[in-house]
């Protein structure tokens, strides 16, 4: 026979100011299973907890209901307290009579009646609760990092340095990401390659890191502690170990193509190429789409000259399967395409370039060797307009602020003035967002020391006239329209995340702008809603290198927290399958947001460590084979009965 104890909290005046707590105690005592009920000012205090523990011992209580705040606040407190008095923690439930009652109702009579119903309903639930034990499972001590940009590199290094194995998956032929394309970095103006390549080299030689380039994650199953991952590794056609980067193959390759990726169509490369000299892994790669040798016709010029015999034109795709305990997603960003901006020429004018193209044009590793030449005729541009917020903060394009453009545009203008001291630089801006350590000072330096002209106003249109571009704008400080002939225009394009495919594969949510959704914007910013999957870099939201690195380290430490455990323990409030009723239709496996239901020949199987107890599968199961522990239908009907029962509303006093 169940012996239930009910404890009603005043929460100072929070509850007692509206709810007649004495009346609630009185009514609770009328429940046939209740052996003891009392109220106290603060149940969560040490005295209050003590009260509960004493009562358990004194009355031999088998279940506890605490009518107080939200279970999110103090359920753990009361469960722990009950446990030390010898009760199973899952025999403790809370009735929320604060957030869902006293805080939202003004009429004390109604609030008191609702409190009584909530308490009765919770009593009806707790008597059906099973004493459960936490679920345990082992942890695979290996971490998957998706994306080899600066965020992925940092996360991989941090996890690897803690002694765990890391699989780093990168879809392009080299790690390095966007940062490798940059010239200098704000606000300190370190050369991007100079600070990035040591980290790339560290990744390359780290015994705990395995890099898969030209690879994509195609399937992920399982859950925290043990994810089963499938990786598709596309053929490189060049043996990474054998290639000694002698470049003979590149010299003889007859196929010349536009370098669309690394140099953003500003120059050409061969079909066998290396993205940039410090690429990791340090090996050539064949661009199969453009090579004459793979496929039907075989030119094989490169094979003939390769003394290392490193080239294999018959290389094939590989599917690699690994198990990992945690996953870090750092898939980075692309620029919003300038071809979508009609007023700036839809990409029709050669000398209207995007910000990454400008980075390549001024980078010492770039197509012009760091000399600034405009793309159309190779002349040095004597007057350049930089336009901020292109695509960003624009309801027709991206509603959000891309956060990095104010700073990189200042850097662009600064570097331009260094390369072309007699040139004029104009920056068109809405406002300057320089919220970061030494950021505002950098903007000041650019405006004063470099004499870059900042004009507050939007550019309405760019038109081409002869070899000049005419910028039509408005100066919103003077209120005057401006017509400015320039030699080149740099568009500070907004940034868009590369998340669509990976979010589908990992079944993690994305927000309205495509960025990966964090568990909590303030208190869990690197965790995805799925346990064991963490977020880093721009994939989660626009951020600069500094913030990406910080977030990557945070994500790594979260992953290490899991990997360093011997086992994972979690709430046992999970779905259960009645195998006799299961028809193996598979609805549950498709709907489960946590990948926690598997289909086996015997029927659906719930992976208890992965199940979050959301109940989606239970509600969807057409044959009623699924149920949720401690939320059995019988319990729920009893709860509803209590909520709908006839309790006379006490007369107004």
């Amino acid at each position: 026979m169940e012996r239930v104890g009910v404890f009603v909290c005043h929460c100072g005046r929070n509850i007692a100011g509206v709810v007649d707590v004495k009346k609630v105690v009185e009514e609770a005592k009328k429940h046939p299973f209740v052996f003891h009920a009392e109220d106290y000012k603060y149940m969560c205090s040490a005295v209050g907890q003590n009260l509960i523990q004493e009562a358990i011992k004194k009355y031999g209580l088998t279940s506890i209901v605490v009518a107080a705040c939200s279970p999110r606040m103090h359920l753990e407190t009361f469960r722990t307290a009950a446990m030390s008095a010898g009760l199973n923690p899952y025999k403790v439930e809370m009735a929320n009579i604060r957030e869902q009652n006293s805080w939202v109702h003004e009429d004390p009579h109604v609030a008191t009646e609702k409190a009584i119903r909530l308490v009765w309903s919770t009593i009806n639930k707790v008597i059906g609760n099973q004493p459960l034990k936490k679920v345990r499972s082992n942890v695979v001590k290996r971490c998957l990092v998706i994306g080899g940009g600066i965020a992925g590199i940092q996360a991989a290094l941090d996890v690897a340095n803690s002694g765990f194995e890391v699989i780093l998956v990168e879809k392009s032929p080299t790690i390095g990401g966007r940062m490798a394309q940059l010239s200098e970095t704000f606000p300190t103006l370190d050369c991007a390659q100079c600070i990035l390549t040591p980290k790339m080299a560290e990744v390359a030689r780290h015994p705990n890191i395995k890099i898969y380039t030209l690879s994509e994650v195609i399937e992920v199953n399982g859950s925290v502690g043990k994810f089963k991952v499938k990786i598709r590794k596309k053929p490189r056609y060049v043996d990474i170990e054998a290639c000694n980067m002698c470049s003979e193959c590149e010299k003889v390759c007859p196929q010349v193509v536009l370098d669309k990726d690394f140099n953003r169509s500003l120059t050409i490369r061969k079909a066998i190429y290396i993205p940039f000299p410090q690429a990791v892994p340090p090996a050539y790669v064949i661009d199969a789409e453009n090579c004459y040798g793979v496929g039907t016709t075989r030119c094989s010029e490169c094979v003939k000259v390769c003394e290392q015999n490193a080239i294999n034109l018959f290389d094939t795709e590989e599917i690699i399967e690994v198990e990992v305990g945690a996953i870090i997603v750092a898939t980075g960003y692309d620029l919003y395409p300038k071809e979508k901006i009609g007023e700036y020429g839809y990409g029709r004018y050669e000398d209207v370039i995007d910000s990454l193209q400008f980075e390549r044009l001024i980078a010492s590793t770039g197509p012009t060797g760091g000399e600034l030449r405009r793309p159309s005729d190779g002349k040095v541009p004597k007057r350049v307009a930089f336009i901020q917020c292109v695509g960003s903060r624009d309801l027709q394009h991206l509603p959000y602020c891309s956060r990095i453009c104010c700073m990189y545009t200042a850097k662009h203008a600064f570097l331009y003035k260094h390369l072309v001291p007699d040139g004029e630089a104009y920056v068109f801006y809405i406002d300057i967002r320089a919220g970061g350590k030494r950021y505002e000072e950098f903007i000041m330096r650019v405006q004063t020391e470099s004499k870059v002209r900042y004009i507050r106003g939007r550019v309405s249109k760019i038109v081409q006239k002869g070899d000049k571009l005419i910028v039509h704008a408005v100066d919103t400080i003077t209120g005057k329209p401006i017509t400015l002939p320039v030699d080149m225009v740099v568009l500070a394009m907004g940034i868009v995340p590369n998340t669509k495919e990976i979010a589908e594969i990992l079944r993690i949510p994305i927000d309205e702008n495509g960025f990966l959704q964090e568990l909590h914007p303030k208190l869990a910013p690197v965790e995805s809603p799925i346990k064991g999957i963490f977020l880093a870099g721009v994939a989660q939201g626009p951020k600069d290198i500094q913030d990406s690195v910080a977030q990557a380290s945070a994500a790594a430490s979260k992953a290490i927290e899991i990997l360093s455990k011997d086992y994972i323990e979690k709430e046992p409030l999970v779905a259960r399958v009645n195998k006799e009723l299961c028809s193996k239709c598979g609805v549950c496996t498709q709907l489960c947001p946590y990948n926690a239901v598997e289909m086996t020949p015997e029927g659906a199987k719930v992976i208890e460590v992965a199940c979050e107890g959301c109940g989606t599968c239970v509600a969807a199961c057409p044959s009623g084979a699924l149920s949720l522990a401690n939320y059995e239908p019988k319990q729920i009907f009893l709860m509803v009965d209590a909520l709908l029962m006839k309790i006379p509303i006490p007369e107004k006093s």
Binding site: G342, Y346, K461, V463, K465
Partner: protein, 291 residues
Amino acid sequence: MRILYYPGCTVKATAIRDEKASLAVLEALGFKIVEVEDWVCCGAVYNLPRDTVIQAVAPIRTLIRAESTMRKHKTSEILLTLCSMCNHVLKMADNMYRSDPDVAYKLDVYLSDEPNYEGKLKIMHFLEILRDLVGYDKIKEKVRRSLGGLKVASFYGCLLLRPREVAIDDSEDPIVIEEIMIQLGADPVDYPYRNECCGSYNVVRTPEYVWDRTKDIVESANDYGAEIIVTTCPLCAYNLEEGQKRRKKELKGREIPILYVSELVAYAFGLDDALEPEVKVLIDRMVRDRG
């Protein structure tokens, strides 16, 4: 198909050429045109603030009368407009009436001498009818006389393309006039000023400003090799024509004829009666000169 037609003041006066050609083209394509009875001026300006609705009284009055005409003559709900400004004002007023009950109530009070506006009309510009109801293929079928690769610069102006709620095409990259010109055998010129504002009614108070703008537009069309500029807006047509005379020196005497889109369509369809004789001669000469 019987469609309603709202001419507007300018089309009945300085832009009568446009009316003649447009109606002839649509009739040749099988439309039966029913002019709205007792129509009034559209007001020529649309006011953006929502707290003064007086500017919307005239266009809504016209729309109410269009609805009466529709019932009386059993036409479809399509209301044809030719002038860019009329098209803009009628659509904006219609939008405002349908989307804001407070505004609709105020207008009903102002217009208590008329039946209430029911909001059943579909206002369509001449170009929209050609594109959406006729289709480019059918236009091509009707061509009797190709324009022989004539270099045509389309001038949209601003009101056909802005704001987005009433725009007939993409405001930054419109293609409808170019598409029609291709069907007629012309060679459209892609120049950057085709969707700029001509200066519009500033011609009344600050004409110099307008001549500056039209000079830029004509110069740009010239630079890209245009032989002729076409538009659908009577005010654009006036400003572009007059602007060239006023800025003759700066333009170095290179004058580009300004015609209505409808006139080139009528010419290509062989509807000579719908064209002013001098327009017919002008196009004849230009097409012939190209060989």
